[in-house]
């Protein structure tokens, strides 16, 4: 296996994690990873060195943007009984954070996940999204404020019900 393929393969678990958080649904997430890998392998000859990791995150981020754009015209449904007030601990927190992520606009969600979950630098995220670093920072700040508000809102609501 070529060094290029090896570095692509080594990234699969991290790409799956990012896609899972980005798309929520695990099948859709793996579809995204699959398409990312197919594109990467096809472009192997075009890849003239550089950071494979950033490049893969770029492909996946763009594919998800396209996917969401194509879904935008379909009606959105919210799960009816997603909220289990008896749940506690990390499992409930995990659902909270997933739901909070889902309320973010696409670019903010991508920035938040690339920085906080995948540990990319502001510079790398700026390149991935094709925007200046300042834009990355303001997206990140807004995303954090929004998620914080959603998480706190849910807790308050939960306490009120109880």
């Amino acid at each position: 296996m070529s060094p290029f393929r090896q570095s692509v393969e080594a990234m699969i678990p991290a790409l799956r994690r990012y896609a899972r958080a980005l798309a929520r649904d695990s099948d859709i997430a793996d579809d995204l990873v699959q398409d990312t890998l197919v594109r990467a392998l096809r472009s192997e000859k075009l890849f003239l060195g550089g950071d494979v990791r950033s490049w893969l995150y770029t492909i996946l981020t763009n594919l998800n943007k396209n996917r969401r754009r194509s879904l935008a015209r379909r009606p959105q449904f919210m799960p009816l009984l997603d909220n289990n007030p008896d749940a506690s601990g990390t499992e409930a927190e995990g659902r909270d954070i997933a739901r909070a992520l889902a309320t973010l606009v696409e670019e903010q969600r991508a920035v938040l996940l690339l920085v906080m979950l995948e540990g990319l630098s502001y510079r790398e995220v700026a390149d991935i999204q094709g925007v200046p670093i300042g834009t990355v920072m303001s997206r990140l700040a807004r995303a954090r404020a929004h998620v914080k508000a959603v998480l706190e809102g849910e807790r308050t609501a939960l306490r009120r019900v109880k």
Binding site: M1, R5, V8, E9, I12, P13, A14, R16, R17, R20, A21, D30, D31, V33, Q34, D35, L37, V38, R39, L41, L63, K65, N66, R67, R69, S70, L71, A72, R73, R74, T90, E93, G94, D96, I97, A98, L113, V115, M116, L117, S121, Y122, M137, L140, A141, R144, V147, K148, L151
Partner: protein, 256 residues
């Protein structure tokens, strides 16, 4: 505790948490936070958020990688919904800019034609990406498919032979149309290119064939004897025109 000489900005707080802050500034930020419990609480909440994300998603790293993601398995063409964005842009074109030139058509009522074409493109976008269940009735049961769709739709539905254009019938399904049931047929070429033929009742009698395209996706649509047709596909205009004309000619011949 004294404040640092230069006030710490919001951006610097984020950069501090993300380890993006120049080392020489860290001390200033830490002093700032020690003096400002509210900022310190916010910084703490961001750290907690990162922990929640890792608690929720790190388990994915330990899952075995599914077979379909193994690099050896991935020599096949990409899934078609990559191009969904293009179809969406086309829909926007049809719904927006398209209104003007549809209105040029003598008999066409723009609103009906628009919603009709939008429905057809939605269906196209939805089903061409399906690998395992693209249709309800497979193309091998062409006679049954035609009978069934004819009975449900209320006009004579034909699934024309497009072999001369290199396409074979994948099959069809029944869909809800703008004003009653719609028939949806899918064809596939040797390289996996897919075209769909959507037809439903429309209030206009007959219109010319019209074309809309952006990027890779395009549609040809027309109405004939109160039934509207939309042939959608990705590919160049000539290819789509060829197929649409063939559908038109064959439907005309069979239906005439």
């Amino acid at each position: 505790m004294t404040d640092p000489k230069i006030p710490v900005t919001e951006d610097e707080l984020h950069a501090y948490v993300d380890n993006e802050l120049p080392a020489e500034r860290r001390g200033d930020v830490e002093a700032w936070l020690a003096a400002r419990p509210e900022d310190a609480a916010r910084v703490q909440s961001w750290r907690a958020m990162a922990e929640m994300l890792h608690a929720r998603y790190d388990s994915v790293l330990d899952e075995p990688v599914p077979k379909r993601l193994e690099l050896e398995q991935l020599s096949r063409p990409p899934r078609r919904w990559i191009y969904g964005a293009v179809a969406a842009a086309l829909v926007a074109f049809v719904a927006g800019g398209g209104a003007g030139w549809i209105a040029h058509g003598a008999a066409a009522t723009p609103s009906v034609f628009q919603s009709f074409t939008v429905e057809a493109l939605d269906a196209h976008r939805l089903y061409v990406v399906e690998v395992r269940h693209p249709v309800e009735v497979p193309g091998a049961e062409r006679a049954h498919l035609q009978q069934w769709l004819t009975r449900r739709c209320g006009w004579t539905v034909y699934a024309p032979e497009l072999d001369s254009a290199g396409l074979k019938l994948v099959g069809g399904r029944l869909l809800p149309g703008p004003a009653g049931p719609a028939s949806f047929l899918m064809y596939e070429g040797p390289s996996g290119e897919r075209f769909t033929v959507y037809s439903a009742k429309v209030t206009v009698e007959t219109t010319q064939m019209r074309y809309a395209a952006q990027g890779r996706d395009s549609a040809m649509f027309w109405a004939e004897k109160g039934v509207g047709f939309v042939v959608s596909g990705s590919g160049d205009r000539d290819r789509l025109t060829q197929i649409a004309k063939l559908v038109y000619d064959l439907s005309e011949k069979l239906g005439g």
